[in-house]
Structures are given as C-alpha cells and as structure tokens.
Amino acid sequence: MSITPVKITKRRRNKELEPGIYGYITFKVIDHGKVVLKRKRQMHSLTAMWFIYLWYGYFNPSPQATLTGYSPNTFNVTSITFSNNADAFWLIASSPYVGIVVGTGQQTKNPLDFTLASPVTPSSTGLSYGTLSMSSPTVSGNTSTLSMSRTFTNMTSSPITLTEAAIIVYVNVESATSPIGDAALAYDYISPSITLSEGQNLTITYQIQVTM
C-alpha cells in the first residue's frame, strides 16, 4: 500500500487580511442632532473569558477556577468561582451593567482582567445608559459580521470624560438559576479620551467580524 511521502507543508496566503476574527469599535458623539465626532478603531482586547468560556463551557472537563468580576447587575467587584458544569455566558439587553459599558479610568491590558479600572455607574441623572442593541450575524462575501451598540447620554451639567470601554457578559453555570456574576469579554481604551458635555450622546458600536 502506498502513501504520501513525508513532506512538511507551510501554506502561505497572499490576501490582505489574515483569516481570523477581527473586532472594531466606532465612537460617535452627537450634540443637538449633529455628529461632532466619529472615530473607528480596531479592538485589541479579548480577555481570557473567551477561553474560560471554551474551557469550562465547551469542553467541560469539570475543573474549577476563580476569577475577579462583578456581582450580577452591579459594578461591585467580587470573586466568581466556576465549578462543575459551568456553561454559557450571555448578555441581557435590559440590564445596563452588561453589554457595552464605559469608565473613567484606565489599566494595563491583561487577559486576566475582567473588570474596568473605574466603571461609570448608570444613572438617569448622571451618565445614562441606553438599551443595548444587537443585530443578527450577516454575511457578505468572505466576511461575516455581528454588531452591538449602546448610546450613553450625559444627563449632568458637568462634562464627563470617558477613557475605557468594555463588553461585560453574564457568567452562568448550569446549576444556578441566575447569573453568578458579570465579567469582561473585551476591554479597550478610549484613546484619545472622549469628553461628553451636558446633553451630548456617545454611541459605541462593536463589530465582530469573521474573515475567511
């Protein structure tokens, strides 16, 4: 019986973009109905949550681990312990504490950081968090895209300077009937910072793209 002789193949590609998962963030500030700032940049920011999600959710070999995140629907830092049968993470649009959140601090990026340096608590008299919106994935040629966005409004008479943003997800385990905590799936700097004056809106849109 004959088989292919030994050879080592290194395949190379000449396309512009390396195949993989890409992320982009768009910031748009609106003042009295007029766009006064629009900026788009690349995400560099998935945390290890994605792997924890794979490891504890997808492959489920029943290990245990603890990470530092938030108590559900708060920005109160707490320990979250995964145990047997940890499974999915997800967002719920009705909570301002999950989905896209913003802060006024900044920290060195670390894949094991699952909180913001200084998150801004949602408030109807402070920084108002709008409803998270998402669109189902779309495909165009070799690129598929999933988008989510949220609008923040400065309800105060003082400026608010934002320097960080994150995607926070609920963490759930199968044995629990409600999320056991919240943790960052992605963390990004807002750099340069964005200062919202009274009444101004900031819309942040995250786009996750699969490029073949």
Binding site: M1, I3, T4, P5, V6, K7, I8, T9, K10, R11, R13, L17, E18, P19, G20, I21, Y22, G23, Q42, M43, H44, S45, L46, T47, A48, W50, F51, I52, L54, W55, G57, Y58, F59, N60, P61, P63, N85, D87, A88, L91, I92, A93, N110, P111, L112, M134, S136, P137, V139, G141, T143, S144, T145, L146, V169, N172, E174, I208, V210, M212
Partner: protein
Amino acid sequence: MPKPLLTARYRVVVRDAQGRIKYIEEAPSKSFILNFLYLWWLNFNLNTTDTISVVDSSGNQTTTTLTEPCGWWGWANSQTTQVGNPYAGIQVGSGTSSPSASSPYLESLILNGTSPGQLSYAFNDVTSPSVSSNPSTIQITQTLTNNSGGSVTVGEIGLATGLENYSTNTYYAALIIHDVLSSAISLPYGGTITVTYTLQVNT
C-alpha cells in the same frame, strides 16, 4: 494592517501502521464560519428566537431553534466518555471543496467506525488555556485510526462545538471552523491521522 483578535492554526500529522511519520501539514486556519458568530449571537441572546444549523447525536444535519441562550458544553468533553464521537470537537471529512462562510457542515464527514471509509475517533484532548502571557492559546487534538481494512481519504478538517438546546434538553454539534487540506491524504489501513487546532487570542 488590522491584526486579528482571534486566529486558529491547524497541524495534521499522518503516521503509517508502524507509527512512522509520513506527512505533516501545518497552516493558518482559513475558515472560521458564520456559525461561529451565530453561537456568539445566541449566547448574547437578547430574548430573540433564532435557528442554527447543527448535527444531532445521530449525525443528521438539521437545525434547532433556540429561544434562550444555548449552553456550549459537555458534548465535546475531552475525556474518555466521548471516545468515538465524530460530531463534536475535531471532525475530518473526505471533501475537497473550498469552505464557504455560510456552509455549516463539512462536505463529507467521515463517520466513526471500522467499516470501509470510516475512521476510529479517539477523544478530544484539550490543553488547559495558557492565559498568563500574550497571546493566550488553547489546543484541541484528536487522533483517528484507520481500522477500516482499506485506505481512507481525508481532504478536510473542522472544529465543532457541542451545544445544548435547553428548552428541549437536546444536544447538538455546530461547526465553527472548516479547512481544506492542501491535498487529500490517503490514510493507509492501520495508520493514524492526528489533527490539532490551536486557537490564539491576541490581547
């Protein structure tokens, strides 16, 4: 040039019946597919009902409608209880057509068994994630043995996740990565093919 947040590489090692390495192919994975985003979407669920293409526990290509976030879990369990599962974890097939973003299946999945054209799947061996440095990585490896009595052609590989539809307590597998090898491999009787996917997050 934008840098991807997440990439994958595959490595294929073919051995003959005596364990001698006969072929190695290593390359960047070309093809995360649309299903990958659908699984994020379904886990990010905003109380939306949606349908995803999957394989059921009998290997049937079907769809399942999810009314709440799905669990990505256990069906691809890395340990011995999942030996012989050709659906969740690493898949191999005999197809050679280029993957498309919207195609949720291998072209021609090779089933687990010892009949002609089949391969014996072992378990999906998963490394603990390495997250202490940048980039973070995780590896999934599957070794298949040809006990079919003849040669078996392998032209494509993929990675699928197990998922649970909580409303029906039913388990499925959903393909998230699909790659075609540079050329089809003829795996001899008694030989093995080891497929490793390495997923990498660039922080």
